[in-house]
Symmetry: C2
Subunit: 552 residues, 2 copies
């Protein structure tokens, strides 16, 4: 069959630019535009300041997005329909019930225990010229609804419009944890990059920034009482997140419904601690590094040393005070046995205390978790702490499965709550070749590149019983930064992290074919807001939903 | 063996930050700094304006690069040596012989016939406080030498210094063509992105921008007399390179020693021409697209139509007037036989003229090349015009081999000059998954990602006789932009395109292990100059040459 290009030029129906797709959505096909006097009202006595600020931000996006519809004529053929459309005068926010005490802020609700967060909302946008209504049981839910409201609109010649009114949306996330992990240790990211990333995360309802803040290569975190770590371990004096920077970041995130979960990996990935505290680190800089660590430089905390253990617990406890989150990751991945086997001090400590390494690791880890618990923190660990180097984790520990999604079932069988972080689906850094030197044909260890489509097809409950499935908290995209920095942050993360955000908000089973036009709209809207999201296809395809499909 | 981190903190010798590596280089280990009154003098009567401007630009880089050495202490331990170093008062440029007429400008020499360009130079930088001397047989050679001079220096606390004086450099390229190809049709790039890319290219002595300016998806080039093509074929009115934009780009490039070689692909990759001239295009938008083209939308110029042939020759001739280059690519890749087999008009034309398709293609192509020759242009084609859809190319035609480096020998056996452009080594877009829709497990057709290391190990004369080897003009990196745009331009292209630039300037056989520290310096210097080059490794590795090698 032949189809002339002229047919392609006709106006195709605009996809609904909603991402993640609301779990309950009905809409019509009536044009509607924002009134020139459009306002957002908060019908809540003594509304929290962060909700007031969020409304101002939402109004700013409505005024400045200026996103034309992704159709061939960008909206021109709808001009008269838009001009004749009724005007939406307002959006009114209200809570479904009035709390007895003060209304909780978005920031407070963003860091509440995961399973207790209320992110659902209902949003009604009539097409008859009456006002829109957003309701929720929480300010956090209202914030999510505001985000959705901001995605309904396109611009034509200065008019902010939709062709798809009325809307009736009843939405809530499938999973409580929807995250993005950023490694700021392999390469440093200025605070401004992190704040911009937080904004972008909020636009697709990601609610957790898993901040892998330090690692063997650098220690950019200023911890009260332990400032030598960053003074001697950051790449430079200007490559440090000061306590003030951290407060800025966590405050900014919380106001956008995002919990910042810090990770200080232990006992591996800690070579840099030797710069300040050489006595606590085994095999620092040992070579060949590949015999002592998965990547250079080698170096692990001396788990069998009482002094090192006390130092670590104290340092973690001090770090925990910087972060309001109720969770804190102590890592626990990639522990190298040879490093300890060849460390005379570790062997002497084990002999003196008549402990095995496994016993010492258990004591060390439990002391760290106990210290964090005194600060009100629940521990998060990588999967090895269950499967490879098992310790006696508290039942409430959250486990991140990264090596392979195949390992999820074993962690679930052990009864722990799980955050999907599998390298074979969610690692954004894969597929760019080997980064170690003197390795001309080196491949990425986690080849191939993880496309948005592939992550989108992930099944969060594969191979799990119904009971085990309840242990799944959600999942996240992850960016390890051996081959990344501020230069490629936006284009590497976006829109792929949005794909995973929809998977865990809207639930699995989405169709990549119908998702693609909406994801293009994410890309183009992100760019309008200053985030350099990467092209998924030629613009020709972005303007013609379905026409560049494999079998189209 | 164990090595403590303390040892890593010691100052390692700075790599020489030269890229591409000069073909003749000797240097010492004497500190030297730029005098506070340092000046660059042009000892040439009536020096061309572009050389004067290039000197000002070079002085700007010297003043503003502020690149600290890539060593652990960033230069601190050299502070006293730097403070005590002798000062370089000046760099003096001169020509080795005085021409009878006016001195040729860089811009004139940049577009001279490839084999006649003179890019060599000698550069002497004494360590005794006497002035540096740059000599060449051409202003283009002086420009290359200026670029090298600008790479000798680091910054410590406001002092611009080297630890490696004196320098004696005698340099000239191994190959005359060192290119970068940019596709501006799949996604559009603003002029500012192209100008920034030209600057970056000049820093590593790339001398050709192969501009794949239009393709089936969009026609962003305004051609005098054929403006309907861009009016109806560009993504938007603002996504057009006007004649004025093109003049700006080619002028900017030439002044930086770069020839802009345009490509208007024919007869395939031309669906968009149907927007303005539907009568000249076979199978426009035919579906399923995969039966009619390698990517959507389908559409090819009607090679058997006299009117289409006249149109094409006229359009190419008009386009040629925009570009001062002496070469022009008419493409010729991926001709789809089914498109023509099912096009009634093409079949009728062939029958009426009693021609085969091959004969018609030959007539069409020869007419185009003849039209270009009246404008003084030598034709460039893709390899299919020799191997798959052979036409009677003039002996001086330049052939780009893209499908596989395995095809080079066959093209060389046919006696044509060759530009290496093989997808299996030089395509910068590979490895990011399939981009067509409804294809969740789709791979990149040219997987895997092409690392800088892999391109660096390419042998330009593999499987060629000595005589055939003389046909190799050089090679280039290429960025097709189905999955790229301004957002990832810098980080996708740099530093990988620099790797290929060194391969074809310094010649093959380079060692990736010793190249890596220098390539880090390219990355960091590019960033200082506003080009967002991508991280190759953690900064920890960048500051410790060799320590992150595979077997280190």
């Amino acid at each position: 069959m032949k189809l002339s290009l002229v047919a392609f030029s006709a106006l195709l129906p605009s996809a609904l630019a909603l991402w993640p797709l609301p779990t309950g959505l009905s809409n019509g096909s009536t044009p509607l535009r924002l009134s020139s006097g459009f306002d957002i009202k908060i019908n809540i006595a003594n509304a929290p300041a962060d909700l007031v600020a969020a409304v101002e931000t939402a109004k700013g996006y409505l005024a400045n997005d200026k996103l034309q519809a992704l159709v061939v004529d960008r909206g021109a053929s709808s001009a008269s329909a838009i001009a004749k459309a009724k005007s939406l005068p307002s959006l009114t926010l209200s809570l479904l019930s009035t709390p007895k005490g003060p209304v909780s802020s978005i920031s407070e609700e963003a860091i509440a225990p995961l399973e207790s967060r209320v992110e659902g909302y209902t949003l009604t946008v009539p097409s008859d010229g009456s006002g829109a209504v957003l309701k929720a049981n929480s300010t956090l839910g209202l914030y999510r609804g505001l985000t959705t409201f901001g995605q309904l609109w396109f611009d034509w010649d200065g008019t902010t419009y939709t062709l798809s009114a009325p809307f009736q949306i009843s939405d809530a996330p499938a999973y409580p944890y929807r995250g993005f992990m950023l490694d700021t240790a392999r390469n440093y990211f200025p605070v401004s990059d992190i704040l911009r990333t937080i904004d972008a995360m909020s636009w697709v309802k990601i609610n957790t920034l898993h901040w892998h803040v330090v690692d063997s290569q650098s220690f950019p975190l200023e911890i009260p009482g332990y400032t030598a770590l960053s003074e001697k371990g950051a790449y430079s004096a200007s490559s440090v997140y000061t306590a003030s920077d951290v407060k800025n970041i966590v405050t900014y995130a919380a106001a956008r419904g995002i919990d910042v979960v810090p990770e200080i990996d232990t006992p591996g990935h800690t070579a840099v601690i030797a710069n300040a505290y050489p006595e606590f680190v085994a095999c620092p800089g040992s070579t060949p590094w590949a015999s002592y660590a998965n990547e250079p430089p080698a170096g692990q905390l001396r788990v069998a040393s009482k002094a090192a253990s006390n130092f670590t617990a104290g340092m973690l406890k001090a770090a925990a005070t910087l972060f309001p989150s109720q969770t804190f990751s102590t890592g626990g991945d990639e522990i190298n046995a040879n490093c300890y086997a060849t460390d005379n001090e570790t062997q002497a400590s084990l002999a003196a205390s008549n402990q095995t390494f496994a016993q010492a690791l258990n004591t060390f880890t439990m002391a760290n978790h106990a210290a964090l618990r005194t600060e009100g923190k629940t521990a998060i660990v990588w999967e090895e702490m269950v499967l490879d180097d098992p310790v006696t984790l508290a039942n409430d520990t959250i486990v991140m499965v990264w090596i392979s999604s195949d390992d999820v079932a074993a962690v679930a069988a052990a009864g722990f709550r799980i955050v999907h972080s599998a390298s074979n689906y969610f690692y954004l850094d894969c597929g760019h070749g080997g980064w170690v030197g003197d390795f001309p044909a080196g491949n990425s260890w986690c080849d191939p590149f993880k496309t948005w489509q592939y992550a989108y097809t992930f099944d969060p409950v594969a191979n799990l019983t119904a009971a085990e499935a309840t242990l799944i908290l959600g999942g996240q995209s992850l960016l390890w930064t051996e081959q990344s920095g501020p230069e490629n942050l936006d284009s590497t993360v976006w829109p792929r992290a949005a794909s995973t955000a929809e998977l865990f908000w809207s639930g699995p089973g989405g169709n990549v074919d119908t998702a693609l036009p909406r994801l293009h709209e994410v890309v183009y809207r992100f760019r309008q807001r200053g985030v350099a999201a990467n092209a998924l296809q030629p613009e020709w395809c972005a303007l013609r939903p379905g026409v560049c499909d494999l079998l189209a």
